[in-house]
């Protein structure tokens, strides 16, 4: 891999996953980072920390992913994790209506308390449970090229309401409408089949103001004492030392 040249342009993006317990946050991350789906064996206290690179045109984004614990009582610790985050994925489970309510409350909290420029994506997970028949294996291939705030649904993806939808508790349209209104990216995903996962992270990457981040860090990128003034500024260090993490494959 042409690491050194890529590293020069790689931008570090802090991303946090939030959502009710068991909606599939860890599974979504695992799918994205390892393209795998398996029971979560990692006991995490507070949050798990993973990194994954994501190529975008000529850029390489290095996601620093914070997968928070879902238990309600860790809620008050969440600000530790979303502070300075440039992106957030708020996950709900489309087969559980209450999880969307929780997601909305996370969105509100983020919009009020997190970095004001944060890119928030809403992800309705476990799509495979309601579209067993319809889910196509080509899912990760034909991506909707819709821009971030474009509200149109991924073409040809949503199965017609009805049929295998008995498990679905959150209509796609409802969530989409809410996301549009709240200014969020919106995806329905399945960590199990992989559907929508890559799109999710790619679209976030597109929406991140990379130029802005690069510009703001370029000036003070020198190591010592660099960030003394960035207590509240979005953090995005240029990672100069990617070669120390060779195991992290880029599957974008």
């Amino acid at each position: 891999m042409a690491e050194s040249s890529a590293a020069d342009k790689s931008v570090q993006v802090k991303l946090v996953l939030l959502g009710e317990a068991a909606v599939g946050k860890s599974s979504v991350v695992l799918r994205f980072v390892s393209n795998d789906f398996q029971p979560n064996k990692e006991p995490t206290i507070g949050a798990a920390f993973l990194t994954q690179k994501c190529r975008l045109e000529d850029r390489v984004l290095r996601y620093e992913i914070w997968d928070t614990a879902g238990q309600e009582r860790f809620h008050s610790l969440a600000p530790m994790y979303y502070r300075n985050a440039q992106a957030a994925v708020v996950v709900y489970d489309i087969t559980k209506a209450s999880s969307l309510e929780k997601a909305k409350s996370w969105v509100k909290e983020l919009q009020r308390q997190a970095n004001p420029n944060i890119v928030i994506a809403l992800a309705g997970n476990k799509l495979d449970l309601v579209s067993a028949a319809a889910s196509s294996s080509s899912a990760s291939g034909d991506v909707s090229e819709d821009e971030a705030d474009d509200a149109t649904a991924t073409p040809g993806e949503a199965p017609a309401a009805g049929e295998s939808d008995s498990l679905r508790q959150v209509p796609r349209e409802e969530a989409q409408a809410y996301a549009t209104e709240a200014g969020l990216l919106f995806f329905e995903t399945s960590a199990k089949t992989g559907e929508g996962i890559v799109d999710l992270f790619t679209e976030i990457a597109k929406k991140i103001p990379i130029e802005h981040i690069l510009a703001s860090t370029r000036g003070g990128a020198g190591r010592p004492g660099a960030g003394s003034s960035r207590a509240n500024a979005p953090r995005a260090d240029v990672n100069l030392d990617d070669s120390t993490k060779p195991k992290e494959a880029c599957n974008c």
Binding site: K41, P43, Q113
Partner: protein, 996 residues
């Protein structure tokens, strides 16, 4: 959506007695559940406490030095600690004392010899004055008698059989035969039959213990411990001398570890005093689920999954039972992630019953508040840790500040999981050994040592991610040599882990338990405040609608609600019933929401509406204060049900917001309508005659403290007009918008239009509805003064006067009450005691001459009131009370906030700004670290090689010495606190004969 908890109000400083209990690992009264068996339940009779100066020696020559210290009787325990509080420490259940004799010693020396169950003998020389010593002895005698009567003495024998140390000491040669004894659920019947070896043990006995026993020098450690336990007692009677701590510091041997953990932590006393409790608890809750069941289930397979025991159903179900049992015992705490890690860890070394009690001690005493729903203990200790780092490692602290790296990113899991989730198990368990032996300060010592050792690299860290990677790499390398390049082979042999412990306990010996306590004290209220304000913001954010309130105003409503909940906690019914909740998907759909009942509502309303409280201005010459109490009236109940739109008999925060919205933003006409509707019970648009009367009563209630007769007159005019118009309109409705002929049966009588007309006919009522009603709702914080309301934390008081400043230094509620009573009495004595009710509206008081109520006021009172802080007194007119229309934020009839002293103001300001920045929560960093797998933890399938208790084959000769080298590394000077002469006296006592 949101639940509001006032639990943090109980998060107080431990009392002195509690600290003593904590120090000696004595179960607190609260953590001892009522035992299922009757015979044990009455043991909460008067707990006698006494402490006395004493010198303690072991009753054997040359075994140990004598130490000066303090002997405590805390029935049913006898405890001793040397003066330095660390060299010698013991906690003995009284039931293990088999014989007490007064020794026949030199004149002036008062000494007792205590023979303990395990055959050890200790001699305590009571060095306090004679009468004190006599008293102590008689209390001790009484306490022992009680234990004897309760049959506790008899319980010792069967109990100690469950302890591995007995087997170790008595049949040390054949211990290896017990290899496959899992002992997990051995019942403690009195006669466990001929089998002597019914000791409890953990999963490790079946699935092996983590690590290589040979490298861990298990055999040597067992040998050293066997010696120690033989001479110094064990399990219930362990005497802790310096050697004990040193042996713990080199790592407990696996087989003994579980028992030593329960002994050192004191959880053994809980198990001893609650026989059968664990099993009974499981039996009682068989087939039931709790609110935590689902959470527990999710984590079972992610609790040390690399350990063989948890790849088996046996291990998983043991873990499940222990966690569930704990959740049943303590439903308020229930289950918190990280408890699974602790439980899984300790179950490797101990039986379920042992683990259950140890978990209790961990959650309740050793890690207080760590796992509570608000996790306040965790947040507090993270704050304390940060401040320690600031103090001990200022460079690292400053660097982290500069690059905005959060310490808690890494340290949160260290504390929450006792390092088990961060380090290889074999190392983490050695820290846990020290933790149980030396207390929670160990976590702070090790934490700072980790940072110190990695200091240079940490100064290069630029963000949270780097920090985490660095820590991860460091933990993975703990087994490596700390000085790989050294020429000295001995130095090369020192592992990084050993280095870590050395730095922890040597360089950070300055971190003491007292220091931690002090730091906790310092930050406690800050943490409570930040958690509460976080909860408040969430609650406000999660409102379905703010109605016409701003966020800040909604916040003030929340504050009032919160204060009300502190005084009258809502019934637990609003929380999910702990053990009946079904676990289907629907359960989560209807999230529990805090709802308050009538009583809480009355209090709430008294906070926001002037007429819903009775306020008495009390002057006694020393101070002037306002005593408030909650008014009770049918109108308030009416309002409660009026606002209960979903008919649940309880109001949510949202209901209060919507309800208040209905009255706080309205003009004249809307207010009249609102008031009308409130009294129109069947909502048919008509008031019945009764309802008109009720409505009039409401007027009288609201106006009950207005000075003069103006309001009284207005109400009586209202009544006569209402009935006049009502009667006139009855047969033939005049108004165009009137409805068809009213049915006599329902007695509809007065419609809104007529009501409006009657009201508008009266100037006073008109202005009441135009402005006063709305203005009587005030959201600005009340100065504290409710008798019952002193729970309100760091807020202001509303007292002023000569002793005003003193007020702020009177800390507790009861003190304040006493002070008030005291000054009142003096005031009465000198004729300066005055009480006057404050009006709720306070407008038209001058329209008519004050009559009836004026008689309450004496000239002296006028003077003192005006001299005081009541701004609404118009001195020219004597007692005329006028509302303060011009002063925003001060409602009619409210004492001005002037008495707040500057320091209090400052405090309040600080609190406010803290709230805005959420210091801890935001500063506390993200934590994480998925648990890595560590090669070093891998179980060695090889036999443990300790069968013969010989020297390990491939180790060189001096294994024991090697172990002791490590021990000596920790050797500290232990000050016995005695002069040479004293030591001689103590030695002499060993041979003294009992007195006849």
């Amino acid at each position: 959506m949101s639940t509001i908890s006032t639990a943090l109000r109980n998060f107080k400083e431990p009392t002195k007695d509690e600290l003593t209990e904590i120090f000696f690992s004595i179960p607190s009264a609260a953590s001892t559940p009522p035992a299922p068996k009757d015979e044990v339940t009455n043991k909460t009779e008067e707990v006698e406490r006494m402490e006395i100066n004493a010198v303690m020696s072991m009753g054997v020559h040359g075994e140990e030095d004598s130490y000066a210290g303090k002997l405590y009787l805390i029935a049913p325990y006898l405890t001793f600690a040397s003066l330095d509080r660390k060299s010698v420490r013991l906690t003995l259940p009284l039931s293990t004392i088999r014989r007490v004799e007064r020794l026949n010693a030199r004149a002036g020396i008062y000494a007792l010899s205590l023979a303990l169950w395990h055959g050890s003998k200790i001699i305590v020389q009571l060095t306090s004055l004679r009468p004190t010593a006599d008293l102590f002895c008689s209390l001790l005698r009484d306490a022992l008698k009680i234990e004897l009567q309760k049959g506790q003495m008899k319980k010792v024998k069967p109990f100690v059989k469950t302890c591995y140390s007995e087997t170790l000491v008595t049949e040390s040669a054949t211990v290896a035969d017990q290899e496959h004894e899992d002992g997990s659920l051995i019942a403690e019947e009195k006669d466990s039959g001929p089998r002597e070896s019914t000791f409890h043990g953990g999963l490790g006995l079946r699935f092996k213990f983590p690590g290589d026993p040979r490298k861990l020098r298990e055999a040597s450690k067992i040998k050293l411990w066997t010696q120690y336990l033989k001479t110094h007692g064990r399990n219930l009677t362990l005497l802790r001398y310096p050697q004990c701590t040193r042996l713990v510091q080199v790592g407990l041997p696996n087989r003994l570890r579980g028992e030593m953990w329960e002994t050192l932590s004191g959880s053994i006393f809980l198990r001893f005093s609650n026989p059968g409790y664990y099993e009974q608890l499981l039996k009682d809750n068989e087939g039931r689920t709790s609110a935590s069941t689902e959470d527990i289930e999710k984590d079972l397979h992610r609790s040390l999954p690399e350990y063989a025991g948890y790849q088996s159903e046996d291990g998983i179900s043991a873990l499940r039972r222990v966690l569930q049992a704990y959740a049943f015992k303590n439903p308020e705490l229930g289950y918190c992630q990280a408890m699974n890690i602790l439980a899984a860890a300790i179950l490797i070394y101990m039986s379920e019953e042992q683990a259950f009690w140890l978990l209790e001690v961990l959650c309740d005493r050793l890690l207080p508040g760590y796992y509570a729903p608000s996790m306040h203990g965790t947040l507090l200790d993270q704050r304390v840790f940060e401040s320690l780092v600031q103090r001990c490692l200022p460079m690292i602290h400053d660097h982290f500040q500069a690059v905005d790296v959060q310490l808690s990113v890494a340290s949160l899991p260290w504390f929450l999981s006792l390092f088990i989730n961060s380090m290889p198990m074999i190392f983490a368990f050695r820290i846990v050994d020290c933790f149980f032996c030396m207390g929670p300060k160990v976590l702070f010592q090790v934490g700072t040592a980790i940072l110190k050792i990695n200091g240079e690299k940490l100064l290069q860290v630029q963000d949270d991610g780097h920090f985490l990677h660095l820590m991860r790499d460091y933990f993975a390398s703990l087994g490596e040599s700390a000085h790989p390049d050294s020429n000295d082979p001995r130095a090369r042999a020192i592992t990084r882990f050993q280095e870590l412990l050395l730095v922890s306990f040597r360089e950070f010996a300055v971190v003491t338990e007292e220091m931690i306590q002090g730091e906790r004290r310092r930050f406690r209220s800050e943490i409570i405040h930040s958690i509460e304000s976080f909860a408040k913001r969430s609650a406000v954010r999660n409102l379905r609608t703010l109605e016409r309130f701003t966020k800040d105003q909604a916040g003030l409503v929340y504050d009032s609600l919160y204060r009300a909940m502190c005084v009258f906690p809502p019934p637990p019914a609003t929380l999910p019933p702990p053990s009946l909740l079904t676990t289907d998907d629907q359960a989560g759909a209807d999230k529990p929401e805090t709802r308050i009942g009538l009583k809480t509502f009355q209090y709430f309303l008294s906070e926001v509406a002037t007429w819903a409280r009775d306020e008495k201005i009390v002057s006694n010459g020393f101070q002037q204060r306002v005593d408030r109490s909650v008014a009770e009236h049918e109108f308030i109940d009416r309002l409660f049900f009026f606002w209960d739109v979903s008919c649940r008999g309880a109001l949510s925060f949202q209901d209060l917001i919507s309800g208040l919205d209905g009255v706080m933003f309205n003009g004249l006409m809307e207010n009249i309508e609102w008031f009308f509707n409130l009294h129109d019970k069947n909502k048919d648009g008509f008031l019945t005659k009764d309802e008109v009367l009720t409505l009039s009563e409401t007027f009288l209630f609201i106006f009950r403290y207005e000075i003069g007769d103006a309001y009284l007159g207005a109400v009586s005019r209202f009544m006569s007009n209402a009935f006049e118009y009502g009667d006139a309109l009855l047969p033939q409705p005049e108004e165009g918008d009137d409805s068809p002929a009213p049915l006599p049966a329902n007695q509809p009588y007065l419609n809104l239009a007529t009501f409006r007309m009657v009201v508008l006919a009266d100037e006073i009522l008109e202005s009441f509805f135009e402005t006063d009603l709305t203005a009587s709702f005030r959201l600005d914080p009340l100065p504290e003064s409710f008798d019952a309301a002193a729970t309100l934390g760091p807020s202001s008081s509303s007292s002023s006067g000569i002793l005003g400043d003193l007020w702020s230094t009177i800390a507790t509620d009861s003190n304040k009450k006493m002070f008030n009573m005291f000054t009142d009495e003096i005031g009465k004595a000198v004729g300066k005691h005055q009480v006057v009710h404050k009006p709720s509206i306070g407008r038209y008081t001058t329209l008519e001459e004050p009559k009836a109520r004026e008689s309450l006021l004496t000239p002296g009172m006028r003077h003192s009131v005006s001299r005081g802080s009541l701004r609404s007194i118009d001195e020219k007119d004597g007692v005329r009370l006028t509302p303060e229309r011009t002063t925003p934020g001060i409602s009619p009839g409210r004492v001005s906030p002037r008495p707040v002293t500057p320091t209090q103001e400052k405090k309040r300001e600080r609190v406010v700004s803290d709230g805005d920045s959420m210091p801890l929560i935001q500063k506390a960093a993200a934590a994480l670290l998925e648990r890595p797998q560590f090669e070093i933890d891998h179980v060695e399938s090889e036999d443990e090689g300790d069968d013969a208790f010989g020297v390990g084959e491939d180790e060189d000769e001096g294994v024991d010495e090697n172990v002791m080298d490590e021990v000596d590394a920790f050797l500290e000077a232990h000050d016995s606190g005695l002069t040479e002469a004293d030591k001689e006296v103590a030695k002499g006592l060993i041979d003294a004969k009992p007195m006849k």
